[in-house]
Symmetry: C2
C-alpha cells in the first residue's frame, strides 16, 4: 500500500493542473506549472481521431465502402461484447489464460467503443467505456503485482509489464474519445487512481522494462506518452520521449531472453527510434518484432503529430518511421507473410492489425503511394480515423496500384553500418540473405544465413522461433526452452557451423558486439541479382565470405540460386553446411544408408535436437538431390569433395514435450579442412498437380557445376545446362568496387568486366 500512497502524492499537481482546463474546449493557452509545459490543449478527441477528422468521416459515411465495412465490423464486434456485459476479472493467468485474454479483449473493446462513440455519436458506446473504466479504476487502486512471477518485469493486469503497456496504449485512445463525455470528477478519479499510477507502474516502478532500447520499452514509452498526451501531462510526455530522468541502470543485467537490460544507458521513445532503426528503416530485431513494435511507434507518432506537431515526429531521423513501413512490407513474402528472421513466428503477415495501422499511416502521412492502397485492399480493413478515411477515399477513386517488391538491400544499425539483410527477387523466387547485427535479445546465431521462397512458399526454410505465442498449453505461450537450445543455434540455420559450435559460442555478450559486413549488393541487372557479405568474428581465425545470386537464364525454366561460401581459416576444422529443405525426398545421385535406430547427431549446440536419418559419402564431382514441395520440384547441385559426408537429418531429438517440428535437412559435412569452398546451385523447376497428376519438368537442368578458379581475389564457377551451354559466374572476393575493371584468364580464355561480378 505504500507504493500506491506515494504515487497518489506524486500526482496531486497533475490532477490540479488538469482540472484547470478540463471544462474548456479549444483552449490555446500556454501555461507552465511545476516545470511542465502545457501547449495547445485542443478539443478532445485530439490524439488519433481529431475533431476535424470526425467531422470529415461523418460527412463521408455510407459512401466509402472499405471504411463503411470496417466500421460495420467493429460495430458488430462491440455490440456483441456490450451485450455480453463487462468483466474485469482479478488478474491470475499467463498468456492464453482467461484473465489474460479478457483484459486483452477489454483494451481492444474500449478503444473500439471509443471510436464508435465519436463516429456514430451514440452514447451507448461512451457509457460502455465509462463503465468499464470505472470498474478498472475500482480494481486497480488496490491491485498488487500480478501473481505469476516468471517475468523480469511483472505487470498488474497482466503477468508482464509489456502487456500492461499494450493495455494503456489502447485505453488512452478510448479515454481521449470519451474525455468530454466524462465529468471532471470522473476524469480526476480515473487519472488519479488508474491512469497515472498505471503509467508509473510500467515506467518509474519498472525501469528494467521501461528504460531500454527494446520493443518492450517502445510499448512502455508509447503507453506513458499517449496517456500523457490525453491528460496533457508534460512530465509523462517527457518521460515517454526521453526516458526516466536521471535514472542509471546496471549495464550488465539481463532480461528473460538473455539481452542486456540497458547496456548504454539510452532510453525513451526517441532513442527507441534512433537505435533499432537503420537509415533504411530496418528494425534490428527483424520484421516479426518490428511488426509488434510498429503499432506503438506509429500510433504514438500519430498522437504526437496531432497534439505536438512542432515535434515533426514523422520527419525525425530523416523520416525513418515511414521508411520503416516500406522496409517492413518488403520483408514479406509473396503472400504478405514476414520472413521469420530471428525469433519470428511464422504466419505473421501484413494482415496483422499493426500493419493496417502502418499502411494507413504511411499512406496518409507519407507520399500517398498508390501501392499501399493495394495492400489496404488486401487487408480489406482501414483504421477508423483520418488516415483510414484517406485510404478509403483513395481506393474509392481507383488509385490503387500493385505494391511491387523488388530486390532490396536493407542496412542494419543506427547508422546503417552494421551489416544488413539483402532480399533477392526474380519472378517467383525470393532469397533472404542475412548478414545483420545480432538483433538484440531476439537475435539468432546465424551469420550469412539465408532462406528461400517460391511464390510465398518456403523452399529452404529458416526455422523461426520455438514458441507458440499465446497458447497457454505450450509453456504459458512464452518462449520454450528449445528456442535457446535449438532455434537460436547456428546449426538450425542455412549457414556454416564450425566444429559443432555456434557462432560467437552462442553467447549474446560476444554476438552483440559484432556484425557481418556487406561486400556488395547488386540488383541493376534484371537477370542477375547478387548479394555478398563477409563474417570474420563468428569464429575467430575463420573468415567466411558468402556470395548468393539469383540468376535468370533463358536455358532454365525458372530463376536459379547460385551460392558460393568461401571459408578461410588458420586451422583445420569440421564444417557443417545444412539445407533445411521442406518437402519430400525425390532422388539423389548418391547411394545412402538409413540407420535402424535414430540417434541424436550430437549432445549440444542444437545438435542434440537432430536425428541422423541417413548417411552417404559423396561419390561424384557433383552431389545432386531433388525434392518435391507443395506441387513444385527443386534440385540441389553442389560441388563435392571426395572427403564430404552427406547426412540426412531431422529435427526432433531430445524434445520431451514435442515442441519442435519434425522437419528435415540435407547436410554436407567437411572434416579436417582449413580453407574451403561450398558451391551450390538450387533450382526450382516444373510442377506437379495432384488433380491432373501430371509432373512437368521434374528434373534438374544442370549437368555440371564446377569451380574453375578460386584465388584470394576471384572465384569462378561454371554452370553447364542439359542443353550443353556453359555459363561462367565470377565474383571478386576482394575489390568489389562498382567501377573497377577486372581482367582474368581462365583456362586460356580472357575475361574482362567492370564491377564486382561477371556472368556470361
Amino acid at each position: 500500500m505504500k507504493l500506491i500512497q506515494s504515487i497518489t502524492l506524486k500526482i496531486v499537481p497533475v490532477v490540479l493542473l488538469i482540472s484547470l482546463f478540463s471544462c474548456k474546449e479549444e483552449v490555446t493557452v500556454v501555461s507552465k506549472e511545476e516545470g511542465k509545459t502545457v501547449s495547445e490543449q485542443g478539443a478532445h478527441p485530439n490524439l488519433i481521431l481529431t475533431a476535424q477528422g470526425v467531422k470529415d468521416i461523418r460527412a463521408q459515411l455510407g459512401s466509402i465502402p472499405i471504411f463503411d465495412a470496417s466500421l460495420k465490423a467493429v460495430q458488430e464486434e462491440v455490440d456483441a461484447e456490450i451485450a455480453l456485459g463487462i468483466d474485469t476479472p482479478i488478474p491470475h493467468d499467463y498468456s492464453g489464460g482467461y484473465t489474460h485474454v479478457r483484459h486483452k479483449s477489454n483494451m481492444l473493446m474500449l478503444q473500439k467503443a471509443g471510436v464508435l462513440y465519436q463516429i456514430l455519436d451514440d452514447e451507448k458506446y461512451a457509457k460502455y467505456v465509462k463503465d468499464m473504466l470505472i470498474q478498472y479504476e475500482a480494481m486497480y487502486k488496490t491491485l498488487p503485482l500480478h501473481p505469476k512471477t516468471r517475468s523480469y518485469a511483472r505487470g498488474k493486469l497482466f503477468w508482464q509489464c509489456l502487456n500492461d503497456a499494450n493495455w494503456l496504449v489502447y485505453v488512452s485512445q478510448a479515454y481521449d474519445c470519451v474525455y468530454n463525455y466524462l465529468s471532471e470528477e470522473e476524469r480526476n478519479k480515473l487519472e488519479a487512481n488508474l491512469f497515472k499510477p498505471f503509467a508509473d507502474h510500467i515506467s518509474v516502478d519498472s525501469p528494467q522494462f521501461y528504460q531500454r532500447v527494446h520493443n518492450h520499452s517502445t510499448w512502455g514509452n508509447a503507453a506513458v506518452g499517449m496517456i500523457g498526451l490525453v491528460m496533457n501531462d508534460e512530465e509523462l510526455i517527457d518521460r515517454a520521449l526521453y526516458g526516466i530522468k536521471d535514472l542509471k541502470l546496471d549495464t550488465e543485467e539481463k532480461d528473460d531472453d538473455g539481452g542486456f537490460l540497458n547496456k548504454d544507458g539510452k532510453a525513451g521513445f526517441l532513442a527507441n527510434i534512433e537505435e533499432p532503426f537503420s537509415p533504411d528503416g530496418y528494425y534490428n530485431e527483424g520484421p516479426y518484432y518490428q511488426r509488434y513494435a510498429m503499432y506503438p511507434f506509429l500510433i504514438f507518432a500519430e498522437g504526437l503529430h496531432n497534439v505536438k506537431p512542432e515535434l515533426k515526429i514523422f520527419e525525425y531521423k530523416e523520416g525513418v518511421l515511414l521508411k520503416s513501413i516500406n522496409a517492413l512490407l518488403n520483408l514479406s513474402d509473396a503472400d504478405g507473410d514476414f520472413f521469420p528472421l530471428n525469433d519470428g513466428q511464422k504466419g505473421m503477415s501484413y494482415y496483422n492489425d499493426a500493419l493496417v495501422t502502418a499502411t494507413d499511416i504511411s499512406y496518409y502521412f507519407g507520399k500517398q503511394d498508390p501501392g499501399l492502397l493495394s495492400i489496404a485492399e488486401k487487408q480489406n480493413k482501414v483504421l477508423l480515423d483520418d488516415s483510414g478515411l484517406a485510404v478509403a477515399l483513395g481506393i474509392k477513386k481507383g488509385l490503387a496500384k500493385p505494391f511491387e517488391k523488388k530486390s532490396i538491400n536493407l542496412s542494419d544499425g543506427p547508422e546503417g553500418t552494421q551489416g544488413g539483410v539483402g532480399i533477392l527477387r526474380n519472378e517467383d523466387i525470393e532469397l533472404v540473405f542475412k548478414y545483420a547485427a545480432q538483433g538484440s535479445s531476439h537475435g539468432h546465431y546465424d551469420k550469412l544465413s539465408y532462406s528461400l521462397y517460391e511464390n510465398g512458399e518456403e523452399v529452404i526454410q529458416d526455422y523461426g522461433l520455438a514458441r507458440f505465442v499465446n497458447i497457454e498449453q505450450k509453456g504459458g505461450g512464452n518462449y520454450l526452452k528449445e528456442n535457446k537450445t535449438w532455434a537460436k543455434q547456428t546449426i538450425a540455420h542455412n549457414t556454416v557451423t564450425q566444429n559443432e559450435t555456434s557462432h560467437f559460442e552462442g553467447k549474446y555478450e560476444i554476438g552483440s558486439q559484432h556484425h557481418s559486413v556487406l561486400h556488395y549488393f547488386s540488383s541493376d541487372n534484371d537477370n542477375v541479382q547478387v548479394a555478398s557479405a563477409k563474417e570474420v568474428n563468428a569464429y575467430p581465425g575463420t573468415e567466411m565470405l558468402r556470395t548468393m545470386a539469383i540468376i535468370k537464364d533463358a536455358d532454365f525454366d525458372k530463376p536459379y540460386v547460385l551460392d558460393i561460401m568461401k571459408v578461410v581459416s588458420n586451422k583445420a576444422n569440421q564444417y557443417d553446411f545444412p539445407y533445411y529443405f521442406l518437402g519430400q525426398v525425390l532422388n539423389t545421385n548418391f547411394e545412402y544408408k538409413v540407420p535402424e535406430t535414430l540417434r541424436a547427431l550430437g549432445s549440444k549446440n542444437g545438435y542434440q535436437h537432430l536425428y541422423l536419418e541417413g548417411t552417404a559419402k559423396s561419390e561424384k564431382e557433383n552431389t545432386k538431390f531433388s525434392w518435391l514441395n507443395k506441387g513444385k520440384f527443386y534440385s540441389l547441385t553442389t560441388v563435392s569433395n571426395a572427403n564430404d559426408d552427406i547426412l540426412f537429418t531431422r529435427i526432433g531429438a531430445n524434445d520431451p514435450e514435442f515442441n519442435l517440428r519434425r522437419e528435415a535437412a540435407l547436410m554436407l559435412r567437411r572434416k579436417n579442412t582449413e580453407n574451403t569452398l561450398f558451391v551450390s546451385a538450387i533450382e526450382a523447376h516444373g510442377s506437379y498437380s495432384p488433380v491432373s497428376e501430371s509432373a512437368v519438368n521434374s528434373n534438374s537442368a544442370i549437368t555440371a557445376l564446377k569451380i574453375v578458379l578460386d584465388t584470394e581475389d576471384f572465384t569462378a564457377i561454371a554452370i553447364t545446362n542439359v542443353n550443353g551451354t556453359t555459363k561462367l559466374f565470377i565474383t571478386a572476393n576482394t575489390d568489389a568496387d562498382k567501377e573497377v575493371r577486372h581482367n582474368l584468364k581462365i583456362n586460356g580464355k580472357e575475361y574482362e568486366w567492370s564491377g564486382p561480378y561477371c556472368f556470361k
Copy 2:
C-alpha cells in the same frame, strides 16, 4: 512381325465393311455382314459432339461466358502445341518420362484439336489431327511391345495397356471429329493399320488386362467401344459391351497389385457397371479410382447414348451411372478433395477433368440439378459439347445453387449388400466411416476405420496410398513397395489391430471374400448423426462393433465425435488403437517418456514403419490429449483402462528411400484382453491465428467420459461438460430396428426410447 500380320488378316472384312459406307452421310441402311449389325450410321461427329450440338454451340458462341472461356483456354493450348510441331517419339519411358508424357499430351491435343475443328470450323485443327494420326499410323504398324517390362499387360505406346487404352478413348473422339475431313483412303489406312490393331492389342491380345471387372478394363472396354462406334464396327462394340467372346481366363492368376485377374469370368463394359457400382452408386475401389474410371464410363456412355440410344445406357441398372456421380461428389470434403479411401492419392478432387465430364454429363443427361451448376462454376470449365453447352446456359441463366453435402450412407457391392461407407456431417465436421468390402486390388485392410475432417482439412487422417503418381523419380511413378508394407496394413489406419497382425492376415484372398455389415445408420436427427457397423471376419473369433456419432450439443463450441468400439473375443489378445492426428502436440493429462533413440515398433505388418517416440501408462479414468492443426484445436478424451499403454508413434522407420511421410499417431495399446470397449470423444474447438496471435477456446470442454453400462444388448456412455451438464448416449448393440422400443434402467434412472440409439 507375326502378330501384326495376323491382325491385318483379321481386320480385312471390317475394312471392306467400312468402305461400303465411308463416302456417305446420314445413311440409315441396316446391314448385316459376317455377324455384325450396322445400325443408323449417322453423320460425323456423332460420338460426343453431335451434328446438332455443333450447330447449337456455334449459334451461342460469344454469349456463354464459361463455355467461351473454356473454348479460349483450349484454343490457346492447342495453338501453342501446333506451333511447337508434332512429335510422336518411339516409346521408351515409364510414367513421367518423356515419351510417356509426350504420347499422353498428344492424345489430349488430338481430342481437343478435333473439337476445335468442329466448333470453330477451322481446317488447321483438322489438318493437325490428320497429320499426327498419319504419323502414328506409320509408327504403329511396325511397333513392337513397349520395351519396359514391369507391367502385367504391356502396351505399345506406353508401358502398360492401361495408358494405351487412355489414348484410344481420347483419339477416338478426335477421329470422329475429323472423320469427314479425311478421305476414304486415309480412313481405311488409319483403321487398318492403327485403330483396329490398336483395339485388338488392348483387348484380344491382352485379355489379362481387358477381360476383367476392374477400372483398367473399363478403360479398355471404352477404348474399344468408342473406336468401334466411330468405325461403326459392331464386333468391336460387342467386344466392348460384353467382353471378348468365348474367352475363359485362369481364375487364380493375379495382377501387379495382388488382385485376381478374373475370378468369376465376368467382363465387358456392362459387367463393369454391374459389378463395381452399388445401387447407391458407390464404386467398390473408392472415390480415387472411381474418379479415374469415371471418364471412360461416362464418355463411352455418352457415345453409346448418341450412337445407340436404344441401349438406354443412362438408365442401365436403375440409372447407376448418374447416381454414381452424386455418390462421388459426396465422397469429397469441403474443398472438393476426395476422401483417400483405399489406394487414394490425396489432393485428387472434383477439379479433375474427369469430374468436369461427370458434372456436365450428370447435369445434361440427369435432372438438371442446380447444385451441379455451382460445382461447374467452381471448376470454371465445361466440356466443349452439348452437355457443356447446357451447363453454360444454366449458369448464364443464374440457375446455380450450392451443392449441399449432407450425411449419407453409401452401400457397397453389386446388390448393395456388402457393407458400405457412411459419411457423417454436421457444420464443418465430416467423418468418413468405412465398413465396405475389400475394394478389389486397391483395397486396404482397414475394416471399421474412419478419418475425420474439419472444413476440408484432415484432423485424423487416413494415410492414403504410398505412391507418387506419374513422378518418375519415385519408382517410375508407380506403387511403391511401402504401399503394401505400410499403407494397406491395418496399423496404418484408425481401427483395431489385433496381435500386431492385419485384418484377414493382410491377404487379399481372404479379405476379398468378406465385408463388414451395417448395424444402423441414422441421420434423421440434425443434431445426432450415427453410423454403426460390425466386422466378424477380420480376426476369426473376434467381433468388432463400432458406433460413431457426430453430436451437436449446445454446451459445445462445435459438433464432437463419439466413438464406441466394442470388441468381443473368444481369447485374450493385444489390441492397438491408433489416432493418426495431424498437427502438433499441445498437451496431455498424463506423464510420458521419450526415448533417447528411436526404434521401430515391430518388424512386420506395418509396425516396422513406425518409430516409437514416446510411452506412458494411463493414469486416470480418462486419458486426454490435445493438439493444434492449421489454426484449430482438437482434444481427444478416451476412457482408460489401468492396463493401457499409451504410445506416441511416427511413420518413417525402415523407409530407405524416404517414401513415407513422417506423420504421427497416438496409440492406445491394451494387452492380454478378451472383451473390451474403446470409448473416445474427439472435440474440435476454438482456433488460433498466427496473424492476430489470439488463441480462442483452446481447451477441451469435456470433464468426464464414462461407460455407465455395457451389456450384450446396450452400451451407454455419459459425457460431462465443463458446465457440469451430463448427457447420455445409449446405443443398442443387438436390435437396431428403427421402430423397436427400448427400456433400460441405468443407475436407478429409467430410459425409454425408440430406435437404435438414445441421446439425452
